[in-house]
């Protein structure tokens, strides 16, 4: 084929720009560490990358939900643990008072101690965490129990049975709160009655029935603690599963979006060689002309 001057120049320019363009692209990939800079670089890869990114963000939020839930459960557990101690103490006192050998003043001393337990237990039931009364169901801005009078004459439930739900995985929506009324039941009423009975020097026979009430209260608290413990375990397991998922997703995302450094460097070297070769070839042929051989 005849090769005109313009075609020759045009071709040389396009060889050079093509080679430089290829090198530039590889160079950009190396600099950004990304294989997909915009969706058109690899549309189906970009679709996958967006899926992975979305899932990564979702999993991160699930872990945030779990973390927040774990903190809530830990506070709940601490409160219930305190309730356990208090109930065990009041049980000891009641067992002691059930003994007929105690005199009136001793009973009144016990009554004072029971009153302390009542007040502390009410504080436990009204535990708040970040301004939220954790045992109040959905009425979280209201204390779970209203304490009337000093010493308390009546402690009334003001919460509801609302569950504090959150999502912890694509499948699971779980409650984190424990409903105060379901744990404490009629404990406050009974303890107040017990205190008043002791205060008036009631004999052992009248004190003894309260032990059963305290025991069933203790059982409810322990059940609640078991539930909280189970939830904490599940949260931990879910968290570690989410972390595993995250690792997998990050790998998948990197596999689609990021460059393989070794491979890209090899491609960069190849592109560089190609550009150098093109430059060299043009340099050598540019001066080839019949004129060089004519006098």
């Amino acid at each position: 084929m005849r090769l005109s001057e313009q075609a020759r120049v045009h071709r040389q320019v396009s060889y050079l720009t093509d080679a430089a363009d290829r090198m530039d692209r590889v160079q950009r990939q190396l600099a950004t560490n990304r294989r997909i800079d915009r969706a058109s670089d690899d549309p189906s890869g970009a679709a996958l990358a967006m899926q992975y990114r979305k899932s990564i963000a979702f999993e991160a939020q699930m872990r945030r939900n779990l973390e927040n839930g774990t903190a809530f459960l830990n506070v709940t557990e601490a409160a219930l643990s305190g309730a356990t101690d208090l109930l065990q103490r009041v049980r000891e006192l009641t067992v002691q008072a059930a003994n007929d050998t105690l005199g009136v003043s001793e009973r009144q001393n016990i009554a004072a101690e029971v009153n302390q337990v009542i007040e502390q237990l009410a504080q436990v039931a009204n535990t708040s965490f970040g301004g939220v009364y954790i045992f109040s169901g959905h009425k979280t801005t209201t204390p779970a129990y209203a304490v009337g009078g000093t010493p308390p004459a009546a402690i009334t439930w003001q919460g509801d049975n609302g569950e504090r739900l959150r999502r912890v995985s694509t499948r699971d929506v779980v409650p984190v709160n424990i409903i105060g009324h379901q744990v404490f039941g009629n404990l406050f009423d009974r303890l107040i009655q017990l205190r008043d009975a002791l205060q008036s020097g009631a004999p052992g026979a009248q004190v003894r029935p309260y032990i059963a009430d305290i025991d069933s209260g203790l059982e409810r608290v322990l059940n609640a603690r078991a539930e909280v413990g189970a939830r904490l375990n599940r949260f931990e397991a879910t968290t570690s599963r989410s972390l595993e998922t995250d690792t997998n997703l990050q790998e998948l995302r990197a596999g689609v979006e990021d460059i393989d450094i070794a491979e890209t460097i090899v491609r960069f070297t190849a592109a560089q060689n190609a550009l150098e070769a093109a430059l060299g070839a043009i340099g050598r042929t540019a001066n080839l002309s019949l004129l060089n051989f004519l006098r």
């Binding site: 001057e5 313009q6 990114r53 499948r171």
Partner: protein, 574 residues
């Protein structure tokens, strides 16, 4: 034969070869001039036809009268020009189309850490944080901010797409200017060429200029042209004559009466619309009137889907102050989506609870946050990817499932509604993603769910033709004689699909631009092979002409010697 004839022959030779040198010089001078066609002296021997009839007999068997070099021919292949111009039109169209699409892609800037999909993820995350602590004003304020950032970004994307379209108006106007300028110059050249060639001369350089203009015109708008006997070309744009003889028609750019923000081209003489079938103009108009509006419609559908989905739930909920019935989002599309200003000013009024007086209840907020996972957006509606009116008879291949980007080949199983008979193959991007014998396809109202693990990633509805809103869904799906499908996907997938379909479009447009460019280069090289100047060749011609010139001069010397012999020596004795 007289010696003077020999001298005459030699003089003709001198002139001819001098002309050859001049032509070589002209060629060399224009070696880099765009559109220049190399020229060649057409040498012809002058035979007996040059002599008078009376002398013919005596000249038989004698040499002729030398060389005739009057004609300087222009080397040009009209067919190659025709092919090259078609390729130029195609390249013009492809590159004009690809550029705005590529800009649109930059507007979306996804996949990235700060694109719309990242902001959408932050929007959902902010809802989750409110679910975690519905009483917390910090979480609510954060939700206000996340929502505002997200909606402002959507608004910006939509208005940038608008801007893109308006910018293309300027290109439409300048394409009109270019067409008019080319047409006027071609008309003027037509006249000059006709006049020059009427005298029997060659209008080589004028024709070169006209060919350059036809190239340029073809790149702007696909034109047809034909050359008349007189050397004039008639140029057609669509069904209208753009240039006829020395007359050029004008096209005018003005506001489109249908949409005054858009520029429209019409013919000045009869007011008809200019129809561009190729070239830059077509690419610009395709991008401005189809690709970009399609993208804007999808973005609107995405915004409307979100607005409806969130508001439907939010209106049922109660804020910390027991306010209820409020919309969370306002607006009619991506261009004006915004957080309800009442909520922006009073985050405690954001409805999170299902009942009044329940500050710790976040069940409504949880449902809103869970919209992220629910296939609740009609993918593609009302844009092109919704398959409507397609008869779902067994064995039919359904296209249009590319809307559900989660649907990668082989990853999903199909549950629910097994078909009574036949098979239905679903495709993703041309590849089957599964043939299944399930789904009671003939029964309208059925659904087919695509699951990944235990998550529903898309729901296919067997439905009526037409477009749907969410509310219409059930009613329409169960109406008799309905046989279209629609695909619903989660919001993130809807947006992801929008981006990756755009990416594929850009990718395709760039590929077509590149291959059109390669074709132009190839055909240009082929054209150049015919009409381009090669310096070595011209230098060789120069050498040849110089040799011939020298030899002709030599002939004169020889004849001069002969005359000298004849005049000064003949008859001189001693």
């Amino acid at each position: 034969m007289a010696l003077s004839i020999g001298l005459d022959t030699a003089v003709k030779a001198l002139r001819a070869h001098q002309l050859a040198v001049d032509v070589a010089a002209h060629n060399i001078a224009n070696a880099q001039t765009p559109g220049f066609s190399r020229q060649r002296v057409l040498l012809r021997p002058i035979g007996l036809e040059g002599a008078a009839w009376s002398a013919r007999d005596s000249l038989l068997g004698k040499p002729g009268f030398g060389v005739d070099a009057r004609d300087v021919q222009r080397i040009r292949d009209a067919f190659m020009d025709y092919q090259a111009r078609q390729a130029l039109s195609s390249r013009g169209q492809r590159s004009a189309f690809a550029a705005p699409l590529r800009n649109a892609e930059t507007i979306f800037n996804d996949p990235s850490d700060d694109g719309i999909s990242a902001l959408l993820a932050r929007f959902w995350a902010a809802w989750h944080d409110v679910v975690n602590e519905p009483e917390s004003s910090a979480a609510r304020t954060a939700l206000v901010h996340a929502t505002q950032t997200f909606t402002l970004r959507l608004q910006a994307a939509q208005s940038e797409l608008d801007l893109q379209r308006r910018n293309l108006n300027q290109l439409v106007s300048s394409a009109a200017d270019e067409i008019n300028a080319c047409a006027r110059e071609i008309a003027a050249l037509n006249l000059q060429i006709k006049q020059v060639e009427l005298n029997g001369d060659r209008a080589n350089d004028l024709r070169d200029r006209r060919d350059v203009l036809l190239d340029k015109l073809s790149e702007v708008a696909s034109v047809q042209y034909s050359e008349a006997q007189t050397g004039e070309v008639t140029v057609y744009l669509g069904s209208h004559e753009l240039v006829f003889g020395a007359t050029a028609r004008t096209i005018v750019a003005g506001p489109d009466p249908g949409d005054p923000t858009m520029t429209k081209l019409t013919w000045q003489n009869d007011g008809f619309d200019v129809v561009a079938s190729g070239g830059k103009l077509k690419g610009i108009l395709d991008a401005r009137d189809q690709a970009l509006p399609d993208l804007q419609r999808k973005l609107d559908a995405f915004a409307v889907g979100l607005i409806n989905g969130v508001n439907t739930l939010h209106r049922q909920g109660y804020g910390l102050d027991n306010s209820t019935g409020l919309d969370f989002l306002q607006g009619t599309g991506a261009g004006d989506i915004r957080l309800n200003p009442v909520l922006a000013a009073n985050p405690h009024r954001i409805a999170t609870a299902a009942a009044p007086n329940s500050p710790g209840d976040a069940s409504i907020a949880l449902q809103i946050a869970s919209l992220e996972l629910r296939p609740n957006m009609v993918a593609g509606a009302p844009a092109t990817h919704l398959v409507t009116g397609e008869t779902l008879s067994p064995g039919v291949t359904l296209v249009g499932l590319q809307v559900a980007q989660g649907l990668q080949p082989g990853t999903y199983t199909i549950v629910e509604n097994p078909p009574s008979s036949g098979t239905l193959e679903l495709q993703y991007d041309g590849n089957p993603i599964g043939t299944y014998n399930s789904a009671n396809i003939s029964a309208p109202g059925g659904t087919i769910q695509f699951t990944s693990g235990s998550n529903v990633v898309a729901t296919l509805y067997v439905a009526v033709t037409g477009t749907y809103t969410d509310a219409q869904q059930v009613a329409d799906l169960t109406a008799p004689g309905n046989n279209a499908i629609r695909v619903e996907v989660a919001p993130g997938d809807f947006y992801g699909n929008l981006v990756s379909v755009l990416g594929a479009d850009v990718n395709r447009a760039l590929g077509m631009e590149q291959s059109a460019g390669l074709l132009v280069d190839h055909l240009d090289a082929m054209r150049q092979a015919t009409h381009g100047v090669n310096i070595d060749e011209e230098v060789t011609n120069l050498q040849a002409a110089q040799h011939a010139y020298n030899a002709a001069a030599r002939v004169i010397t020889v004849i001069d010697d002969m005359l000298d012999t004849l005049i000064n020596r003949t008859g001189v004795t001693r």
